[in-house]
């Protein structure tokens, strides 16, 4: 750590950095930023930077107004998009109370605590998300009241010398400048939909990367005069934006999910971890899919993971055990497909890890594999096969979460309470709307 701090201070000097953005994340998953001058950074390392937490979602209680942000030097990066004028850098922060205890409402702390718990059992947790998002013409809706994807304007037309690949090239470059290597792919499924895969890293680094990634994509979009959105389901007729996450546990250097003798080369730990994810999936969904809109994606049919199943080649299962080259034990992993691109990655990963670990600790039995797409079965068949469902709506998800000791324990009392409160408010506000659907359907006939 201290070497890292030295490095940061040296780099600030050498590169003539003018501002350092101190980043942290509120409970909802919105990135917050405080800019400080280089002269203040040494003090921030030693004593933290005081800020008024009452302006932040989830830190809102008056008595937590005085908070200290301690920058984490291992997260130091020069931000590429302000490179030309005033070099600016960023670091993620840990939020502390004035008497030096971690702030209960800091999502990053929640993940750190959960990772530490896993570490006590000898496990480290690695994740690899595939983040989907849409590029739109602008944040404004079109004349038909729908968002307008860029594709219709020919943004991705493969015209030599055109603007076609500018967005992609620029994003990849910026992400690489900031130390996040990615793979970019263009989805044909939805007009303007893109997917970027972040590389495998420990869950804390991945969560930090996701926050950075979202900021970079938004920034590049602005540069290019378009709008990027991570909204889970912006179009009724096109697929939603998920954040499928590949996960693995390591014990020291060896992949704990790998057993060459196991079915699909999956170890007992791997099977129990999946069982844990499946059993607790409904109660953690309010966090992995935290908006009213998230449930439009989950229940959008097709390959959406609405049913609690697992499978190998089943593209609609909630948990998938992907293929990897035989004998490549280190690559053994499982994929959780419910999380969407708008989740708070710190909290979502905390809960995925906690759910899986619970399965390992209590030795849960893995139910049989689902070999067909559950959407193609009748309700009766699904019931006969014992496929549970993820919650149908945000309200349903919140009521399941409320009874979950696993979620309360993992998030801590304060974040737990805040999420419940915040999500109930969202649901109440949503329900009070009279939607276009109702007007179009009912008004002409009633």
């Amino acid at each position: 750590m201290d070497k890292q701090r030295d490095f940061v201070l040296r780099t600030i000097e050498e590169r003539g950095v003018k501002f350092i953005r101190l980043w942290f994340t509120d409970v909802v998953g919105t990135l917050k930023s405080v800019a400080v001058a280089p002269a203040e950074i040494e003090g921030a390392f030693a004593e933290g930077l005081g800020f008024d937490g009452s302006a932040i979602e989830g830190f809102t209680r008056a008595y937590e107004a005085d908070m200290l942000a301690f920058p984490d030097p291992t997260t130091f990066q020069i931000l590429p998009w302000r490179g030309e004028v005033d070099p600016t850098a960023r670091m993620f922060c840990d939020v502390m109370t004035p008497d030096g205890q971690p702030a209960a409402s800091d999502p990053r702390h929640v993940l750190k605590r959960t990772l530490a718990k896993a570490a006590d059992r000898g496990f480290s947790f690695y994740t690899h998300p595939e983040v989907e998002f849409y590029l739109l013409d602008s944040v404004d809706l079109g004349p038909d009241g729908q968002p307008v994807p860029v594709d219709t304007a020919g943004f991705f037309d493969n015209v030599p010398g055109g603007t076609a690949h500018d967005f992609r090239r620029r994003s990849v470059r910026m992400l690489e400048d900031i130390g996040i290597s990615v793979e970019f792919s263009h989805h044909e499924a939805g007009p303007g939909q893109n997917e970027i895969d972040l590389r495998y890293a420990d869950a804390l680094a991945t969560a930090d990367n996701i926050m950075t990634f979202r900021a970079v994509i938004k920034e590049v979009a602005i540069e290019q005069g378009v709008y990027a959105t991570f909204m889970p389901k912006p179009f009724t007729d096109h697929p939603g934006s998920g954040m499928h996450t590949h996960m693995s546990l390591f014990e020291g250097d060896s992949n704990a999910f790998y057993d060459p003798a196991g079915h699909y080369e999956l170890s007992a730990v791997g099977r129990q971890f999946i069982a844990g994810l499946l059993r607790h999936a409904p109660e953690i969904t309010a966090v992995t899919n935290q908006f009213v809109n998230s449930y439009k994606r989950l229940w959008g049919g097709d390959e959406a993971p609405g049913y609690v199943t697992w499978g190998h080649n089943n593209r609609a299962a909630l948990v998938r055990v992907p293929l990897y080259k035989p004998g490549k034990g280190q690559a053994a992993r499982i994929e959780y497909r419910a999380v969407d691109s708008a989740a708070n990655p710190y909290l979502a990963y905390s809960l995925l890890l906690a759910a899986g670990l619970r399965g390992v600790e209590e030795g849960y039995e893995l139910p049989p594999e689902a070999e067909t797409n559950p959407w193609e079965l009748t309700e009766g068949e699904r019931r006969a096969l014992g496929y549970a469902r993820l919650p149908a709506s945000l309200e349903h998800a919140v009521s399941l979460m409320e009874d979950s000791e696993l979620v309360a324990e993992t998030l801590g009392e304060q974040v737990f309470n805040y999420v419940l409160l915040n999500k109930r408010e969202e649901w109440a506000a949503y329900r009070s709307q009279v939607t276009r659907f109702e007007l179009e359907r009912n008004l002409p006939t009633l």
Partner: protein
């Protein structure tokens, strides 16, 4: 062979197994050697080991034994050290090194030369063996010198210094080997400068016979070598040097070389450049790391580089006392003194634990850090030299310092002799008689094992006291004239010390100390003696400043009261309790100042037990009879009674003498007594009515907390007043309010549980109550009656009321609509009664899963089932809950959750009143307040967050149960 000695002779020499000794000496067959064994710590073992040496190498052994002086030396060494005996057994040729006596312990130069010479021309395993044999040869000679000294205590400092020089020499020799063997081009190795810095005991020149040697490595490039390369080579050299002394070889390693005090500890680079060290300490070092640097000294390797390192680092050490978290670091340091000792070792630990060596070192280092900030003269390394300087510079008294040094030497001699025995690192005193006897003989500190143990116990006690005398007592000298010969600190010096132990307003504290200790009164004299200890105890509390101020006021009021002074002087536990309650509770601070005589209770637990209702009422009756015609005096006396009993209960509950299940009834008794007194004054014979007070709510349930209101209902019946009866009753009610008023310790009489609440008449006749309850058979007022308990007043009216409510409150079959109404009212109360903007999760009374949730649920069960189940007919929430569980109405896990929440919230509420000295139902927001409350709840220091999290979790779980059971759903 004829026997020339009697067994008595052998016993006199100190042998234990006389038969074996007799046979052994016969085998040895050197009658002239027999008296030598009197010099051995363990003559039996010495003889046995000597015989083994003879077997191993008779010639070498004979050469030593031929010289009587050398023979005595050998016997002494063998009798004290199994480890050295084994060494001579491995290398009998080394025995001859004992023939020449060591006149004086050699200096560092000659030791270094000796060990360098031992490895010169050798490589690999042979060189390592030669190094270690050379080291142990010198060690054996030093031990022989040590054991020949008339006083171990006088010699201990020189021995420790020589051991440190010997360790330095070993590292030097090992480093020279490393340079010869390092797999790098010779000119690059030559251009790599490497200094080994000694830390801890090695730095302080106070090593034991077997300590870990704490070191730090510094590298530097010269002659055009790249810095990075120098660090790379230096790292290799350092690793090789460590291996040279510690790694497994034919001759065992010497001791562990511990480099973990380096920057970043185990994770940091083993070797750094001087610049890198400095950059680290300038920016990131934690305070405790500075404490470790206090003893840094160049030990081996490049002396010039080492000197530069120390010269650069040294001044930084002394800045640490001005750093922000110094107080916390000091508390952690103190914690380390006593923590981490396995319970079964506390009594046998020489080093850790109260009165151990660590206590002395801690005290001396703390004084050095506090005063070294401004005074360069106290910046020295060793414990004994530091004591000397602290005396010279006037920070501690010469007499105390002398005693401290003496105890330190005593403990060090014991430590040396213990470690010498097996050449192992140990600080555990032997417990068996034989072990103690040998230690007594080896140390020369006592004639028998038992005497040694007694003496050691006395030393431990004195060391504990001396910490107070050295650190705390001089604080007084800054403001008070102490007897001649004691030193005086300046105010600045004293303020620095007070701030270091946690006083926020150190200047103010010094003022209080001045007031407490100045003057010639007996009180001032005694307080001068006691304050040093009291200050330390105050500093253990969350609010030392407030505690000290309250103590000052109490002392001012008690003046020279004989009992008070005697108690403070003679009863350690009473004085400690006094500081604990004063520095932990503002409620107690405020009340104690008014009732200083309460100090007398602290002596024994008996006076802190609740006095019981009969005794309280007797006192009240005596007061009201005595001041029959003097209302003012009666009211004053009753008010005093109440304050005094509240204080008693507050103190009792803080000290754990009054558990929560006794506190509620006791507080209820105090309320009853207060009301009984007020009623005796306001309700006189001839009023024409009978009057009664009914306890309701938590008062009715005898479950009051400190700071709870007293819920009551008031009742009368006509006894001749006729039409004016209601007016008379209302007059009495007004009087009750007036007579019980207390601005210092508010007494709130709450009548809102009466029929129709605030809209209803404040007092009713029994007939009126009857009419009301007949109309509203089950309603939430009837529910309130579940906890009604007649307490004070005229017997007739109370009996009639008792009869009335018995019919109402346990209805045989409450209608479903009534039950539903109760549920609805509960929901409404939740929404309406919570103060504006309050967070329900943090409201201890009306909040989520807190007191009223549990109580309403229990009451609902009572209403539904009490007619059938007698156990439910109680005014106590906990009793009713227990009965409901027993009857299977509430499942055991649910009952446990409800009970946990109710108890936790009740305790937290009382703790909040104790800490804040005001009543609030909202969990504190300010961190320090949370900390204060958490400590009162029995959490360790620094648990504010844990306490908060626990409260939220426990009440959330209770609310889940409540939601399920109260609404009858799920």
């Amino acid at each position: 062979m004829a026997r020339s000695r009697s067994l008595t002779d052998l016993a006199r020499l100190g042998f234990a197994d006389l038969g074996a000794a007799d046979r052994g000496l016969a085998r040895l067959d050197r009658p002239d050697s027999e008296p030598w064994f009197a010099e051995a710590a363990d003559p039996d073992a010495a003889l046995e080991r000597l015989l083994r040496l003879v077997e191993r190498d008779a010639a070498a052994t004979d050469r030593v034994l031929a010289d009587p002086d050398a023979g005595v030396r050998l016997v002494r060494v063998l009798g004290a050290s199994e480890g050295l005996a084994a060494f001579y057994h491995r290398h009998p040729e080394q025995l001859t090194s004992l023939i020449e006596p060591m006149e004086e312990p050699p200096g560092p130069e000659s030791l270094r030369e000796e060990l360098l010479a031992a490895v010169r021309g050798r490589t690999g395993e042979a060189a390592r063996v030669a190094l270690r044999v050379g080291y142990r040869r010198q060690l054996g000679r030093l031990v022989a010198w040590d054991l020949a000294q008339p006083s171990g205590q006088d010699a201990v400092e020189r021995v420790a210094g020589t051991l440190s020089d010997l360790a330095a020499a070993a590292l030097e020799a090992s480093l020279s080997l490393a340079r010869a063997e390092a797999p790098f081009p010779a000119e690059e190795v030559a251009a790599t400068r490497l200094a080994i810095i000694g830390m801890g005991k090695a730095g302080g020149r106070e090593l034991n016979y077997l300590s870990d040697v704490d070191v730090i490595f510094v590298a530097e490039a010269s002659a055009g070598l790249a810095e990075q390369r120098a660090v790379e080579i230096g790292t290799r050299l350092a690793m090789l040097a460590i291996r040279g002394v510690a790694e497994l070889a034919m001759e065992p390693g010497l001791w562990e070389v511990d480099a973990n005090l380096r920057p970043e500890g185990k994770d940091g680079a083993l070797v750094r450049t001087l610049e890198s060290h400095l950059a680290y300490y300038e920016r990131w070092a934690k305070d405790w790391e500075f404490q470790a640097l206090l003893k840094a000294r160049p030990l081996a390797g490049d002396a010039e580089l080492g000197e530069r390192y120390v010269a650069a680092i040294w001044p930084m050490v002394w800045q640490s006392a001005s750093r922000d978290h110094f107080v916390e670091s000091v508390q952690r340091m103190r914690g380390r003194v006593t923590d981490h000792i396995p319970a079964d070792q506390v009594d046998v630990q020489l080093k850790l634990g109260p009165g151990g060596l660590r206590d002395i070192e801690f005290t001396v280092q703390l004084l050095q850090l506090v005063h070294g900030l401004t005074d360069e003269q106290v910046r020295v390394r060793g414990t004994l030299p530091a004591l000397e300087r602290l005396v010279e510079q006037g920070y501690i008294g010469r007499v105390e310092a002398g005693e401290f040094a003496e105890e330190y030497r005593f403990l060090r001699v014991l430590e040396h002799r213990l470690q010498l025995r097996r050449l192992r690192r140990t600080h555990i005193m032997p417990v068996d008689e034989e072990g103690l006897r040998v230690l007594a003989r080896a140390s020369g500190l006592a004639a028998t094992g038992e005497e040694l143990r007694d003496r050691w116990q006395r030393v431990k006690t004195r060391v504990r006291e001396l910490h107070e005398r050295l650190f705390y007592r001089p604080l007084l000298s800054a403001v008070a004239a102490l007897p001649d010969g004691e030193l005086a600190l300046t105010s600045e010096q004293a303020i620095a010390r007070l701030a270091a132990i946690g006083f926020r307003d150190a200047k103010g504290a010094l003022g209080h100390i001045a007031a407490l200790t100045s003057g010639l009164s007996r009180r001032a004299q005694i307080q001068r003696t006691l304050l040093p200890v009291l200050l330390r105890w105050f500093a253990d509390g969350v609010d030392p400043d407030g505690g000290l101020l309250a103590f000052r006021r109490i002392s001012d009021q008690l003046g020279d009261a004989y009992w008070y002074l005697r108690m403070l002087r003679d009863s350690t536990s009473a004085a400690q309790r006094l500081t604990e309650v004063l520095s932990g509770s503002r409620f107690v601070q405020a009340l104690f100042e008014r009732i200083p005589e309460a100090a007398a209770w602290l002596e024994s637990g008996e006076d802190l037990a609740p006095r019981g209702l009969p005794a309280l009422l007797e006192e009240q009756e005596s007061i009201t009879a005595r001041y029959r015609d003097d209302e003012e005096s009666a009211v004053r006396a009753l008010r005093h009674l109440r304050r005094r009993e509240m204080l008693r209960l507050a103190i009792g509950s803080m000290l754990g003498l009054v558990p929560i299940d006794e506190l509620g009834p006791a507080l209820s008794d105090v309320v009853t007594t207060t009301l009984s007194g007020a009623l005796a004054i306001s309700h006189r014979p001839g009023d024409g009515i009978e009057f009664g007070v009914i306890a309701m709510g938590r008062y009715g349930g005898r479950e009051l907390g400190l700071g709870s209101d007293a819920d009551v209902m008031l009742v009368y019946r006509d006894a001749g007043a006729g039409d004016s009866a209601q007016a008379t009753a209302e007059r009495i009610v007004r009087e009750l309010g007036r007579l019980t008023e207390d601005l210092q310790l508010p007494f709130e009489l709450d009548t809102n549980l009466r029929p129709e609440g605030k809209q209803g008449p404040i007092v009713r006749s029994v007939a009126s109550y009857r009419a009301y309850y007949e109309r509203w058979a089950v309603s939430w007022e009837a529910q309130a009656l579940l906890r009604a308990r007649v307490v004070v007043g005229d017997v007739g009216v109370l009996a009639e009321f008792q009869e009335l409510i018995a019919e109402v409150r346990y209805p045989s079959a409450p209608a479903e609509q009534d039950i539903r109404e109760i549920r609805r009212i509960k929901a409404r109360v939740e929404a309406e009664r919570l103060p504006q903007g309050a967070d329900p999760k943090r409201h201890l009374k009306l909040g989520r899963g807190s007191l009223s949730d549990v109580e309403w649920l229990v009451q609902l069960v009572q209403l539904q089932h009490a007619a059938r189940i007698p156990g439910l007919r109680t005014t106590s929430t906990l009793e009713a809950l227990g009965a409901a569980e027993e009857a299977g109405l509430i499942a055991a896990p649910d009952a446990a959750r409800l009970r946990d929440a109710w108890l936790f919230a009740s305790r937290a509420r009382s703790a909040m009143t104790l800490w804040l000295n005001r009543t609030t139902d909202i969990l504190p927001a300010v961190r320090r307040d949370l900390e204060g409350v958490a400590r009162l709840m029995g959490y360790p220091r620094g648990s504010a967050s844990r306490f908060e999290e626990d409260y939220l979790r426990i009440t959330r779980l209770a609310r889940q149960t409540f939601d399920r059971l109260f609404t009858g759903q799920g």
